[in-house]
Symmetry: C2
Subunit: 557 residues, 2 copies
């Protein structure tokens, strides 16, 4: 059995090690075009920022170590140029010597990864404009950072873009972000990214959302980035983080099927359309775990597991990849943003029925020092309560609740299960009613008809004339500090005595600061003969949609 693996990072390295553990007899050759195998690509921005001090820490393993421990014949700086499927051969080029040769295979695993997009814009190849994929890119950027750079532009506000901005700002570099979308973190629903935008602004980033680079020129001050809006940014360093495209050339040339977005098509065993050729990692399209469609999400966790599965199956084990649910996380200064499963925008685009609730709990008992708030947006099926997605943004503990929701999605659990989740509680770790329980209560109460709600996004989309009577049930002090346009203030504790002030003939929308008092007010109203609903997540949710000092609310100030 001769197994050839193309690509030595994440999926490829996982496949190689797993294959050896499963078979001492197999001959395993790993080809890697670059000089390094299994480097920590997720750590690159933190090495640039100096958070990770030693470059050697990024080298998770080396060819020598893979040889010693796993008897893997690792050939770096070696490019696989062609696959001859009929004869089960790969054509290989040693990049150091330019020597070309062939290797035969019984099974072939492709783990070529995805390359950063470098859009075909005028001036894109000027010096000082980088992408970030590997240690060599990192070395180049790091060299230019060393004391000489005062400002930088990051183009693209996705995961890597945000990690770069944070690290550049920490180095004291004035940094601008240009993002084509009108939000950072495009996989997230826009309102859930507001805390990220706010923390970047507090830390001094110059954010240009809804704008795009159109061309690059040079001036005496450095690179000039010409934007679609007509603005110009002069910078010493520009880094592109505008997405990736699967490295699919080898697969396409070999006649393997490739999806619309370029991902190599694989079945649940990670086999391509040639059953002796597997593909894993950022280069493949896979199955959406929740809805079964095709998806293409470049993430390290799935890449590693796919590598294992491909190796197992190539060696005769019956294993299957269950699909990807898109769990992802990013930290930007003190704010964490994480998601799992489907977003609202995805559900809308795909005409799936859903409901969304917002809660804003503290990460642990509020009477214990250091509590930090988070916002959870929980998306669920209104018919059966199945959890469809979760987004969590805030301070400590956002990662924990995301992982809990990831498990709920994997297990097909419902919001009723979240109500009953028995999570670890002591004052420093959580609350007797954990944020997950709270999200479950709010969602389950809606399904049971006890807590009719409207999302703040839907509220804002209603024509003003169609809006229900809007009742702010917070204290007068809170109301004065800022409220939704058109709201009437009756504090919840006074509501029972002041019901006659509320119109009987109109629907009532209640809200408070985070949603809980609004819910209590709603219950009082519903049981007193009013038609009512609660604006989910209250004023805090409103401020995610309409940040302080912007839009509708600005006129209140």
């Amino acid at each position: 059995m001769k197994l050839i693996i193309v690509g030595g990072v994440a999926g490829g390295a996982s496949a190689a090690a797993r294959a050896r553990r499963m078979s001492e007899q197999a001959e395993i050759i790993l080809f890697e075009r670059g000089p390094d195998v299994s480097f920590a690509n997720c750590g690159l921005p933190y090495y640039l920022g100096g958070e990770i001090k030693e470059r050697s820490k990024l080298l998770v393993t080396t060819p020598d170590k893979l040889k010693a421990r796993f008897e893997i014949d690792v050939r770096v700086r070696t490019s696989v140029e062609k696959i001859d499927r009929a004869n089960k051969l790969v054509y290989v080029r040693d990049l150091a010597t330019n020597r070309e040769y062939t290797e035969s295979y019984d099974k072939l695993i492709l783990s070529p990864g995805a390359a950063p997009l470098r859009p075909n814009l005028p001036g894109i190849d000027l010096p000082g404009i980088y992408t970030l994929r590997n240690l060599q890119d990192t070395d180049h950027i790091k060299a230019s950072l060393n004391g000489k750079i005062k400002n930088a532009v990051v183009i693209g506000g996705g995961f890597i873009g945000l990690e770069l901005i944070e690290n550049f700002l920490k180095l004291g570099i004035e940094t601008s972000l240009v993002e084509y979308n009108d939000q950072v973190l495009p996989p997230f629903d826009k309102e859930m990214t507001t805390p990220i935008v706010e923390v970047l602004q507090r830390r001094g980033a110059n954010l240009l959302l809804g704008d795009a680079a159109e061309s690059f020129t040079t001036s005496s001050q450095g690179i000039v980035v010409h934007l679609k809006s007509g603005r110009k940014l002069v910078t010493q360093l520009a880094v592109l983080g505008v997405g990736v495209r699967p490295e699919n050339k080898l697969a396409i040339d070999a006649g393997l099927e490739v999806g619309k977005r370029g991902g190599i098509h694989v079945n649940a065993h990670m086999q391509t359309t040639d059953p002796d050729i597997y593909a894993v990692g950022d280069a493949v399209e896979t199955t959406d775990f929740l809805f079964g469609g095709v998806t293409q999400i470049p993430l390290a966790g799935p890449a590693n597991r796919q590598g294992r599965i491909a190796a197992d199956h190539a060696l005769g084990k019956e294993t299957r990849y269950r699909g990807t649910q898109g769990t992802a996380i990013v930290g930007v200064f003190e704010i964490t943003a994480a998601m799992t499963g489907a977003s609202e925008k995805w559900l809308r685009q795909n005409n799936r029925s859903f409901r969304a609730v917002y809660v804003h709990p503290a990460n642990h008992a509020s009477y214990y020092p250091g509590a930090e708030q988070m916002t959870i947006k929980l998306l669920f099926d209104p018919d059966n309560g199945r959890v469809l997605g979760g987004q969590v943004v805030g301070g400590s503990g956002a990662d924990k609740r995301t992982d809990v929701l990831a498990m709920a999605i994997q297990a097909g659990m419902t919001v009723f299960d979240l109500e009953e989740a028995e999570l670890a509680y002591a004052p420093a770790y959580g609350s007797a009613k954990d944020p997950i329980n709270m999200a479950g209560f709010v969602a389950a109460n809606w399904i049971r008809g006890d807590h009719p709600q409207m999302g703040m996004g839907e509220w804002l989309a209603l024509p003003e004339t169609d809006r229900p009577f809007l009742l702010d049930v917070r204290t007068p002090t809170e109301f004065e500090a800022g409220h939704l346009p058109g709201a009437t203030n009756i504090p919840v504790d006074d509501l029972r005595k002041r019901l006659e002030e509320i119109p009987k003939d109109k629907e009532i929308a209640t809200y408070c600061q985070v949603g809980q008092r609004g819910y209590i007010a709603l219950r009082i109203l519903m049981q007193s003969g009013f038609r009512a609903m609660n604006l989910s997540g209250g004023y805090k949710a409103y401020r995610l949609f309409v940040p302080e000092g912007k839009g509708e609310s600005a006129k209140l100030k």
Copy 2:
């Protein structure tokens, strides 16, 4: 509809608020014997230690607030003395005035809690010997702490006992712990408590495990605690944390059924044997979620959820409590210990088949600064892989992995599901192969027959003559620093070349530092014709069973 609730903390307060939200019409009376409702009992040790500075923070709500917001007639310092089930009346005494009166009820919810045990020992009622249940106890202890106390004794090493020791030590008070069992945290398996014992010792606690107080006397220096071992401790303050007993007198007097351990018997709707009387919280026995038997676990999370369920059902909603899985957590200085589901000792006592694996992963990518190690003990069903229990002890992130395992247990997930769990990964939050994935891999590989293992506890229980050939596959440096008695050292990377040094006719037990190299060595051996197994969790697991400087290993030093 007139609802009477007895007990205003956790379950009782939850029931009252929920009942009002579900019914504006109900008359709701809440009786509480003490002066406070809904105080933060889990915060009391941290108020003693000064972590929580303001006493007022412990008052989560007040009678006035419950009246204003929920129209609940709260009567504190009022004791319910008797239930007349035939006439649906409670006999009540106002403790301030001693006035007695009756109230009728349609539905009655009992949430009396559990009282700290105060064993009937000579001298137990001497001044300076406390239990900790409520704010009044706390005030007394705090008054005696104020500057005057140099030393203290905590009797009982459970959750509250450990929280007290930590807080006393932080105040600079010399503190001894007396615990009847030979371990702290009796619900945990003993080896998993070793890091807690070690951190307490590092922080200067005097630990007396396997000992017990037999009597108390006074001397000029303070209280003398006479121990079963013959030792005496002289102290200025003694706090008992030796467990609780359900406050079941009211229920027993009313002829309601009570279980063997004193918990009031309830069905899934939290109804006692009288369908108009519910009971919730620390006073009840409930169902073991995993195995369906009776259990009695006093925890705040379940108490709160039971209160909701009782209120819902009393008001005509069809709700059910799913049982308790015993998720619990405690922090002691920098170490967190948490568990969910069944322990090994429970599974043994109940003759359940199980396997246990240990992994020692870092909480996040080890190349990112600040990574902290944890140990996960995963218990699972060897037939189908169902997760039966998890214990996690270590630094940051132990709580997160416990919650993930809690969800897995709730959902009936298997170790195969843990392998595939898609958790949030970025270098500061986790690893591409999360600790949960790692535990899943190790367990699932065992079930698949790819990774035969033996627990370190079983290894140590084997007579020396019956032990397999013991192979330490770490580096010589690691081996020299400490190893299992009788081990032969062949580093994993040399193993393929040195197979002839290993006996063909004996079973081989491999081990390394944490288990991974032992597994690779095992795979090499198994595929080279040896019968082999890996000691799960390696040398680190050994050191949980046999701490540095103790037992078997001491002679190696």
